[in-house]
Subunit: 501 residues, 2 copies
């Protein structure tokens, strides 16, 4: 369960106003061997050169409030992955160009390539799945349950308001190995269900299909094998555009006959549960196709396992689901959040995919010199999308989040007590207490207390000359403003006691 602690604190970290001081840099000859045009003029207001202050297109900085929220989100996802016994790995952001090429089909054009600076031809990873397959083959690992949370890169058209960036986190959980059918596949769906429930994102549905079923459909509709993939790509658009548009792309661009397209349309617009599986298993044409039969048989098994997990209520066997990537070979799935636009609308509106995955049994074999296969199934949680939703929700609610965890501000009530502050804060750090002080020789007490309120620090430990003479520290509760003298040797224990949850 993810909980946000609302606090009356600012989003960015202010540190009390500063006393002006001659910066050492002013007296120092400019140490920069700048080779930007007009560098020397950069320091003067009238200079011709102006630095371009931005992050690359489709990327963004994460300020502290984002980072706190994102760290909590990632922690919730990791907790789930660990609950299912996964180990973590990490791979480089850079891969050999040839490792990535030939794995993504049409999407390969979105791969970022590095300049040839003398050496290997490199690219930025496009997802975490291909690097995982490369890792398995390289280390001759034939079974492994791993998670990997890291950034990936796509030269896509960013749609940043909907949480779509060129640099974004992926949170992947995959099970590699030769196992009995549908057991690991069911666990992947269970994981999606657990994470979306834990995060309390509202109602959702997990669409499930199988590439073998789609393929079987194409076959019985008379599509030649050479057009399976491209037809699959067109079907994949059904979640965004109506059937009529998909149909006209099939007939116009992809060159299918109108009859074949209509026939496909009869199948891919179906969705349901176990009863639909049974119905298709009885379908006179589909039941004759080996691939479709295998896929439908496994789908039935999957529903059996999901029933035991108690999650079929959120699962929809949806024949329009195709998934963009080339490497899937069996079960595919995608979770979408549903949003009741208002209570009177009956059909919930989809607000987009927040998790997806499937089975890819051929990918590891592409890296093995002898083509040895390691069957894999995995899921990727769309953390950026979820983050956008939570962020919007936070903004709408006016909730604010503490960006630091400081427990105590060490303060002094009058001048010439910097040494006393430095000694006391050092004692607190030594005891593991999270403590700050203002970086001024003689800050005003009011400024120090204001800093506590601005940043949500709950306690202030105040030492003046009287306290030093008496061997005590004045401990102030920032919220209630109550102050109590605590013997110095008991201060750490008292702070710990006060901060107990």
């Amino acid at each position: 369960m993810l909980r946000l602690v609302p606090l009356a604190a600012g989003w960015l970290l202010p540190v009390g106003p500063a006393v002006p001081r001659l910066s050492p840099a002013r007296a120092w000859p400019l140490p920069y061997s700048g080779f930007l045009p007009g560098r020397a003029a950069a320091g003067s207001a009238g200079g011709g050169w102006r630095p371009v202050l931005k992050t690359p297109k489709g990327t963004r900085d994460h300020p502290p409030a984002h980072t706190v929220l994102r760290d909590r989100l990632l922690a919730a996802v990791v907790t789930c992955f660990k609950r299912h016994g996964a180990a973590a790995i990490d791979t480089p952001v850079l891969e050999l160009r040839e490792t990535l090429m030939g794995k993504y089909g049409e999407e390969a054009k979105l791969i970022y390539e590095l300049q040839d600076q003398g050496g290997e031809l490199l690219a930025l990873r496009y997802d975490l799945t291909v690097p995982f397959a490369r890792y398995l083959a390289m280390n001759k690992i034939t079974n492994m349950k791993r998670y990997h949370i890291a950034k990936v890169y796509r030269r896509d058209n960013p749609a940043t308001t909907r949480g779509r960036y060129r640099e974004f986190y992926q949170c992947d959980f995959d099970i590699a190995g030769q196992f009995d059918p549908m057991i690991p596949d069911a666990e992947c769906l269970k994981i999606v269900h657990e994470i979306l429930s834990d995060l309390q994102l509202g109602d959702f549905v997990i669409k499930v299909n199988d590439r073998r079923i789609l393929n079987g459909i194409f076959a019985v509709c008379g599509i030649p094998e050479s057009k399976f993939i491209t037809t699959c790509c067109t079907v994949d658009k059904l979640d965004k555009v109506p059937w009529e548009e998909v149909r006209s792309e099939m007939v116009g661009e992809k060159g299918l006959s109108p009859e074949a397209a209509d026939h496909i349309g009869e199948y891919v617009q179906l969705h349901g549960g176990l009863e639909l599986i049974e119905q298709l298993l009885q379908d006179p044409k589909l039941s004759q196709n080996k691939l479709a039969k295998e896929g439908l048989g496994d789908m039935k098994l999957l529903f059996e396992y999901l029933t035991l997990f108690g999650i079929t209520g959120k699962i929809s066997f949806d024949l329009s689901l195709a998934r963009g990537l080339d490497y899937y070979t069996g079960v595919i799935f995608e979770a979408v959040l549903l949003q009741q636009e208002n209570e009177h609308v009956e059909e919930p509106v989809s607000v987009g995919s927040v998790a997806g995955g499937g089975r890819y049994d051929g990918l590891v074999g592409m890296f093995d010199p002898k083509g040895r296969k390691v069957p894999c199934v995995g899921v990727s949680i769309g953390i950026e999308r979820i983050f956008s939703i939570l962020e919007q929700r936070m903004k709408a609610s006016g909730e604010k989040v503490r960006t630091t965890e400081t427990q105590v501000l060490v303060a002094t009530p009058h001048k010439h007590l910097l040494a006393a502050r430095l000694k006391l804060i050092s004692e607190l750090w030594g005891a593991g207490i999270k403590a700050e002080m203002l970086y001024k020789k003689d800050p005003k007490l009011l400024k120090q207390l204001q800093y506590c309120e601005d940043t949500g620090i709950p306690l202030a430990a105040i030492v003046g000359e009287q306290e030093l003479a008496d061997g005590v520290v004045k401990l102030r509760d920032v919220a209630t403003r109550v102050e109590v003298d605590i013997p110095r040797e008991k201060l750490v224990d008292e702070i710990r006691r006060r901060l107990e949850p």
Copy 2:
């Protein structure tokens, strides 16, 4: 404090042997639109094409055991950064090329640049300091205490055995703002002291110097200002090569007079504490130089604060310390681990730098259109180096680390009980228990128990037909092999009780 839990478990995660099954991929037409030469032959043993199975030069994968160790290391560092009240930010791996150019001096040649694929000219970040300065200027932030832990990229000659890679983590803590002298600087040194002490890496020393003192020395030795930076670079080599070599580079390559070089040599070979600062403040020439005097005055103040922190025992004012990067303007420092080669050697041997940093008061101004400065001081923890040391220590000790956190294996003693396992494991996951099961319909009990021992799972929850009939679960302690029947409704509580620390 970092503790490793030794366990008799393998480094990689084995999942019990598998029952062969026809992979769905075999019946599926190859879905890859590969455009690598000979791709079609990749699946067959006799094909001409062989995949290159490697990570790019100077990079590496982190298998689970590495990742666990590294995550603990990073957690220890983050704990310290949070203890000092820092907020976290994140910035993109990609920066505009022009953001990085002109900031690193000679080292700029090591920056990875991206191919021009139509759009902005991009590069991979070289450190976290320049992106931080860009972030401050872009958001007009004039004070902030932040940490940032992320990967950076340098096309350096990798020395992987010494923990030097082309992709590596940096752990940075920085304080930006106009404050009273040396208070934030002293905190940065305190942080290095705390982290190196907490990690129990053995004895260390933190060398401290100031660019203003070095500059003052160059000035009184008659070096023209235009040669300050290049002379600084040469001095920086003193930790690796003897003075004679540094001297001959000064005279030969850099064109200093032999007298000037000798004069510099008298200064830069000095190291000590407060008494050395006092001595130099009395130095007839240096005391006449404004920059040196300012630097020495601040150094004295710094030592005063470090005395209050109780850490001067590990601090050495070392005039040979120069630091490679151009952007430093004041205090600079570097922590090195010392290793007693054997007890009879009196002088400890340095095993390399594990942290470094300094003051850079001009960098933010380089990004501000009006050149407005934001003084900054910061420290970077050399986590890769520390990781290498810990890794070697682990290998030497034969210690092994658990790579998963699974608490319970759900097992069955005989056939046809997959449904019982799926139901039970679902209950455990629902209660937040970390649980696994083998992905087989009918695994042998011995294999299941062996999996517990191989991966360090402490408990097995066994359900057979008798247990189902009796409404109990047999809970087995894997280490002692003791089994007890627990009523099903009390199982979760009993597991929690057993796993209490």
